[in-house]
């Protein structure tokens, strides 16, 4: 099975202190460190496991700046066979639909039986997988937490639904799945692993290589535009506990006790 996994380079909240910039248009990007989007990492691990059991190949693709090459390399150190970096100034200001359009072009440029995306990334829109499936006219399952390969034409995919219940669906290949975190335990990639693939060439594609024009994918084509970005003001009843860890924990216990949440 040939699998394409879409991955994104994001600032990991575990390694950054995310703050909003002064004009409220974005987060403060100075002094950020980046990693692969956590959900995408689960998707790559899942793809590698499917390939190891059923054969085929795993290709990772990322749309972004040149720096995205570092996360492609990390995923290749994990076990992905190839990487594709899609980078072009023309993509600047693209909305979700624009990104999906680029990924559609990548998918059509290759021969993939299965396309995986992370359920969501840093911006939390969780929109690419669904749009990409629709554009490719392929079936789509979201928030997948289990994949069973059924012969060469079908998959069984699981999803957790309300109340901790599990739903299993059958889906025809080729298809697009968005992967939920926790589907597997992604393997560790050390510095040595990355060094081992440091010499592998990662092809870089521009808009023209994919037959895309600026008005299809860039800012001009974007029909969703961010108009504000802020930290919500504290509302009624909300309270932020201040103090050291212990102090906060003590206050929380008191609060819970007084409101009957704890005996």
């Amino acid at each position: 099975m040939n699998i394409l996994v879409c991955v994104k380079r994001v600032p990991d909240p575990a390694e950054n202190e995310i703050e909003i910039n002064s004009d409220g248009s974005d987060i403060e990007r100075e002094d950020l460190v980046y990693s692969v989007n956590e959900w995408d990492n689960y998707a790559v691990e899942e793809a590698i496991q499917i390939r190891d059991q059923h054969g085929g190949s795993v290709t990772v693709v990322s749309v972004g700046e040149e720096e995205s090459e570092e996360i492609l390399r990390r995923e290749m150190a994990m076990g992905a066979d190839q990487g594709i970096l899609v980078s072009d100034d023309a993509f600047e200001g693209a909305d979700g639909r624009g990104i999906a359009t680029i990924l559609k072009a990548v998918a059509e440029n290759g021969d993939y039986d299965l396309i995986l995306t992370g359920a969501q990334s840093d911006e939390g829109a969780a929109q690419i997988g669904g749009m990409l499936a629709a554009m490719l006219n392929q079936p789509y399952a979201s928030l997948v937490n289990e994949i069973q390969v059924q012969g060469g034409t079908k998959l069984e995919v699981g999803r957790e639904i309300e109340g901790g219940n599990q739903e299993v669906s059958e889906i025809e290949l080729p298809c697009v799945l968005s992967i939920q975190s926790g589907i597997n335990e992604p393997r560790y990639v050390g510095i040595r692993g990355i060094r081992k693939v440091s010499g592998v060439e990662i092809p870089e594609k521009e808009a023209s290589d994919l037959g895309l024009s600026e008005d299809q994918v860039g800012e001009k084509a974007a029909r969703v535009k961010r108009v504000d970005y802020f930290h919500p003001e504290m509302g009624e009843g909300a309270e932020i506990l201040e103090g050291g860890t212990e102090e906060v924990a003590e206050k929380l216990v008191e609060l819970l006790k007084s409101k009957g949440g704890m005996k």
Binding site: D12, A14, E15, N16, E17, D31, V33, S35, M78, E185, P186, R187, Y188, V189, G190, I191, R192, G193, R195, G244, T245
Partner: protein
């Protein structure tokens, strides 16, 4: 020489001349033994290199102390004494056994030097030695068979009990003693009956009892018993020799070599591969131990030598709290794997990975590298280097628990496991009083002394007090000191011990460069893990001291003057951090500092000094979530502290502080026992009025 009974050499057994049989048994025995040993050496020859052919004076001292003097044995009193009796008995009886074998084909053989008085003295000595060994075997057998000490039991997941093997061997040894005694006693009884001058037999010895019992026995019976005893002794002797390399009694042969080649550098981790420099590491095909033959030859010799005594696991904190790690079974399972893969008879089997087959992943991650197992092992087996080598291979294969991946990722990106930004590393200095200035050392400002707090002490709110206390003490002493600030990276001490060598090297190189740039002439740290890293894992940094050493120096030179005990504590106990004590032998330094506080009453825990019980481990170990654990090590330790009646426990490691503070709170001692770092206690007792600076 006249013989009262026909010697074995001159009697015929089933038509075969005794001399032939007496020659055949040793020839076959020695040939078989030689073959077995040659086969057993095959995996060692395939093993990784390990340079141990150096520092022979030290190595000879090790042999005298740990092998000949059995120094570690009495740490377990009864078992130790029994072992010493059997060991010394074996040494004494080696001459007797050898001459017995030779007598079989040369009846008048006397060991050179043992004719005359020396021989008589030796004869008495060996009679008592045999008797003592015989009694020790019976006591040991009863102990193993009836009382069954807990530490010998085999948990179901590791197979079945090993009791039969122990009893069987004790039986063989006992048999040797009995037949040696009978052989002698029958001759003496016959001599007495014939009125000849009887050999001197030691009164009340095993042989003496036999000679009394057999005093009136007919000569024919004595003759039969004499011959039978001889050949049974001979047969058991060579059977035992060949049986040794099939189980835990291999140590009878291998322990001396194991002690000669034992590790001499405490606290150090072996390089990924001996003889391969850091720069050449990229050329290595793989890291660490994946298959049993990836171990070094010495580590394989350790497996052969394991005595299955269970002392390691009895002292292992991970094992004690129910984590899936038993150092004893690391050795036994690896030995069995070697026996299975490289059998004495038949073909060598193809290699298979150890992880998930011989060892569980979580067993290998459960180790805190506290060193209690190595401290206890009577034959000087190593564990930490093996665990680290196994982890190196797991890291390479991506088999790292999810709980460790986040902090490792943060260490790679930010140089600390918390994922905090670099500039926050020095935030702890902000709440210091104005007069205490902590400079940031770099190319512009170059203080002589560098204080290296390391990550936990820099970022953890509670532990930052150790950094502030250290800075206060340094300031009190008028020290010209600074910190690296945002240029400091995690020391990487646990990163290396968790098997992520390349990340460790990145951190080490960054620190080495920053320290070099700071121009510091020496480094002090309040973290024993950082201290161990700076002194053992780093090579191009100025000399490093632990704060307790610095404080003691300053107390002794009169710079630090301490006020009488201010804390409301009646009794204080000291907890030895693993990387202060076992790995660096700094047992007395912190105790001397405590004793320098006038009016401080100090008591010891039952488990202290080299038997200290690990608090739960530091660095990455704080993040590891073991799948099974009955209680935390810190909780167990809190109860040990409670047993002393102390109301204040002092340690000198940030991780001990964290783990024990948690342990005290969660095991019901909150409000009864307080914990402080040594620097905190000293900082509060500085006599500012008497300050010289």
């Amino acid at each position: 020489m006249e013989h009262a009974l026909i010697p074995p050499a001159e009697i015929a057994i089933l038509g075969i001349p005794g001399m032939v049989l007496a020659l055949l048994i040793p020839v076959v025995g020695i040939a078989a033994f030689g073959y077995i040993i040659a086969r057993r050496l095959i995996p060692l020859a395939k093993g990784a290199s390990d340079p141990r052919f150096d520092r022979f004076p030290t190595r000879i001292k090790q042999v005298l102390l740990y092998w000949l003097a059995q120094y570690k044995q009495p740490r377990y009193r009864l078992a130790g004494i029994l072992h010493i009796v059997i060991f010394i008995g074996f040494l004494i009886l080696a001459i007797r056994s050898t001459s017995l074998v030779i007598i079989g084909f040369s009846p008048d053989f006397v060991f050179p030097g043992l004719d005359g008085t020396a021989g008589t003295v030796y004869g008495v000595l060996k009679d008592y030695a045999a008797t003592a060994v015989f009694i020790a075997c019976i006591v040991a057998g009863v102990r193993r068979g009836f009382f069954k000490p807990q530490r010998y039991s085999v948990p179901a997941k590791y197979g079945t009990e090993h009791t039969w093997e122990a009893i069987f061997v004790l039986g063989l040894i006992g048999g040797l003693m009995v037949f040696e005694g009978l052989f002698e006693a029958t001759a003496v009884a016959a001599q007495a009956q014939q009125g000849a001058a009887a050999e001197l037999i030691a009164p009340l010895s095993l042989a003496w009892f036999f000679s009394v019992l057999l005093g009136q026995a007919p000569v024919a019976a004595l003759q039969g018993l004499h011959t039978t005893a001889y050949f049974l002794h001979d047969a058991i002797f060579f059977f035992f020799l060949c049986y040794l390399p099939f189980g835990k009694h291999f140590h009878v042969i291998s322990s001396i070599f194991n002690v000669v080649f034992s590790k001499l550098d405490r606290g150090r981790i072996k390089p990924v591969q001996w003889g391969v420099s850091d720069e050449e590491l990229d050329n290595l095909e793989s890291f660490g131990v994946r298959y049993v033959e990836d171990f070094t030859w010495k580590h394989m010799l350790d497996f052969y030598t394991c005595v299955d005594c269970g002392r390691c696991s009895d002292n292992c904190p991970a094992n004690t709290v129910g984590r899936p790690l038993s150092p004893r079974f690391i050795s036994i399972k690896a030995r069995d794997e070697m026996f299975d893969r490289f059998p004495v008879l038949g073909e060598i089997k193809p290699r298979e990975p150890l992880i998930d087959r011989v060892f569980e992943q979580d067993a290998i991650w459960s180790c805190t590298t506290c060193g209690a197992c190595e401290e206890e092992c009577p034959v000087m087996n190593e564990y930490i280097d093996k665990i680290v080598d196994l982890r190196r291979a797991m890291v390479e294969a991506g088999q790292v628990p999810q709980s460790l991946q986040k902090p490792l990722g943060a260490l790679e990106k930010r140089g600390n496991p918390y994922g905090k930004t670099e500039k926050k590393r020095q935030e702890w200095t902000q709440s210091l009083p104005e007069e205490i200035q902590v400079r940031v050392a770099g190319s512009k400002d170059q203080p002589a002394t560098l204080y290296f707090p390391d990550s936990a002490t820099s970022f953890d709110e509670r532990l930052q007090d150790i950094a502030r206390s250290s800075a206060t003490i340094l300031h009190y002493c008028g020290e010209d000191f600074g910190i690296l600030g945002k240029a400091e990276r995690d020391s990487g001490h646990e990163v290396r011990r968790f098997g992520e060598e390349m990340l460790f090297q990145t951190l080490r190189d960054a620190n080495t460069q920053a320290i070099d740039k700071s121009g510091a002439e020496r480094v002090v740290t309040s973290d024993p893990h950082a201290f161990n890293a700076l002194t053992k894992d780093y090579s191009e940094v100025p000399p490093a001291q632990h704060m307790s050493q610095y404080i003691l120096d300053k107390i002794q030179s009169g710079v630090i003057k301490l006020k009488p005990m201010q804390e409301e504590a009646s009794v204080v106990t000291y907890h030895d951090p693993c990387y202060m004590g076992r790995h660096n032998l700094l047992y007395d330094t912190p105790r001397q500092v405590l004793d320098a506080i006038p009016g401080l009453t100090r008591v010891e825990m039952e488990r202290s000094r080299d038997r200290s019980f690990c608090c739960g481990g530091g660095g990455l170990m704080l993040y590891y979530e073991p799948p099974e654990e009955e209680e935390r090590m810190g909780q167990k330790r809190a109860r040990m502290i409670g047993e002393t009646g102390a109301d204040l426990v002092v340690s000198c490691c940030p991780f001990c502080l964290t783990n024990l503070e948690d342990g005290i709170k969660t095991s019901g001692y909150e409000g009864q026992i307080r914990i402080m770092d040594l620097t905190e206690l000293v900082a509060r007792h500085l006599d500012w009025d008497a300050r010289q600076a």
